[in-house]
Assembly symmetry: C2
Homo-oligomer: 214 residues x 2
């Protein structure tokens, strides 16, 4: 019965007295309880070509198959929409990461296991992102791969263009990448397969009681 919900009864009373109320909203805890798992962001940082998108998709598939509510935020669905009005200047990249962190926070609030996959080259920006989350809600994963290997892979031909001077501010070539100081997890994608990397991530999440196998 809908009317049993204490919030609605109060809503009607407050409506009658013309007050506003916002705290009856379905909370993060209610969502987590119903979903049967915690919500948090897995923040993948690393060079272009290091394997962020690949691991993001493989991790999501694994978690979705386990019955979890998941979503991937990455360049594909963010740069073409929310951040379509941002370029690649230092200021715009900072704003790019700021917005992504805020959207990640909304998804975590919605009870979703959120996988955010962005180069996010600057430590200060990642620290600011982390500060928007509660204890244990921000899991920084360094997708570590030597730039030489990334250049060899060069899946989008971007390194070639950057070296030819056709792309400015390209991380690892003519823009800095600051290695994470103290990430929760580091994955060497030149040494382990995608599947092994996902195994490591899932084991971490299980160890901390954030997820479970159904």
């Amino acid at each position: 019965m809908i009317n049993e919900h204490p919030g609605l009864e109060r809503a009607r009373e407050e409506e009658a007295s013309n007050l506003t109320w916002h705290d009856m909203r379905v909370t993060k805890e209610l969502r987590r309880n119903r979903n049967g798992h915690s919500s948090f962001v897995v923040w993948l940082t690393g060079l272009s070509g290091a394997g962020k998108s690949t691991i993001a998709s493989a991790l999501e598939t694994r978690l979705f198959d386990m019955g979890l509510m998941t979503y991937v935020l990455d360049g594909d669905n963010v740069r073409m929409g929310l951040n379509a009005n941002l370029g690649f200047s230092e200021e715009d990249r900072q704003e790019n990461i700021r917005r992504v962190a805020e959207v990640s926070r909304l998804f975590v609030d919605a009870g979703i296991v959120t996988i955010s996959s962005f180069i996010s080259p600057l430590d200060a920006d990642r620290v600011k992102a982390r500060e928007r989350f509660g204890e244990g809600e921000f899991i920084e994963v360094f997708i570590d791969c030597p730039v030489e290997e990334c250049m060899k892979r060069d899946p989008k031909g971007l390194y070639q263009k950057a070296i030819a001077g056709e792309i400015k501010n390209f991380t690892g070539i003519n823009a800095p990448y600051e290695r994470p100081q103290d990430p929760e997890i580091t994955l060497r994608t030149d040494q382990y397969t995608v599947d092994e990397c996902v195994d490591t991530l899932v084991a971490y999440l299980k160890d901390r009681g954030l997820i479970f196998a159904r």
Copy 2:
């Protein structure tokens, strides 16, 4: 078995050949199928004090109690985070609505019934928002209440301040509100209770087969 997933097998093959792949991602359709309901945005537009937040919360509570995956986007969780760097100039209000529409689109892509509650006073901005969604995914709800009644309610004391000249660009006082041309639903909050308004919304969603009672 995780390894049965066709995407992962392909992922490993493509990883070996250093290709990128993005299309194996868990899709909107997969999420909808598992959630057991469609995903769409219920876009609430109307004057300050018309009852948008009240109806958003009450609608979400009703749908959550029915077992649906839901989330509310509104001034509370957006203006303090994602859009904290925006003011109330015409340009900033336009960007505010643009970002909210894009984030709503991500939530709909994630399979969530998204309730977006923003004054969104300009028809052009709402039309642009609608254009970001597929057929039937954008349900515009005009929270209609005479400005005199909103001023009487004035839950945050904002009308008083606007009339005193302390707030510039306040919709309905010194900034325009353009009534929706052809909203899916209009709710007169001065004539119906919150519960009756939610009944109307839920009936609409059921009629169109977007949700169902469990």
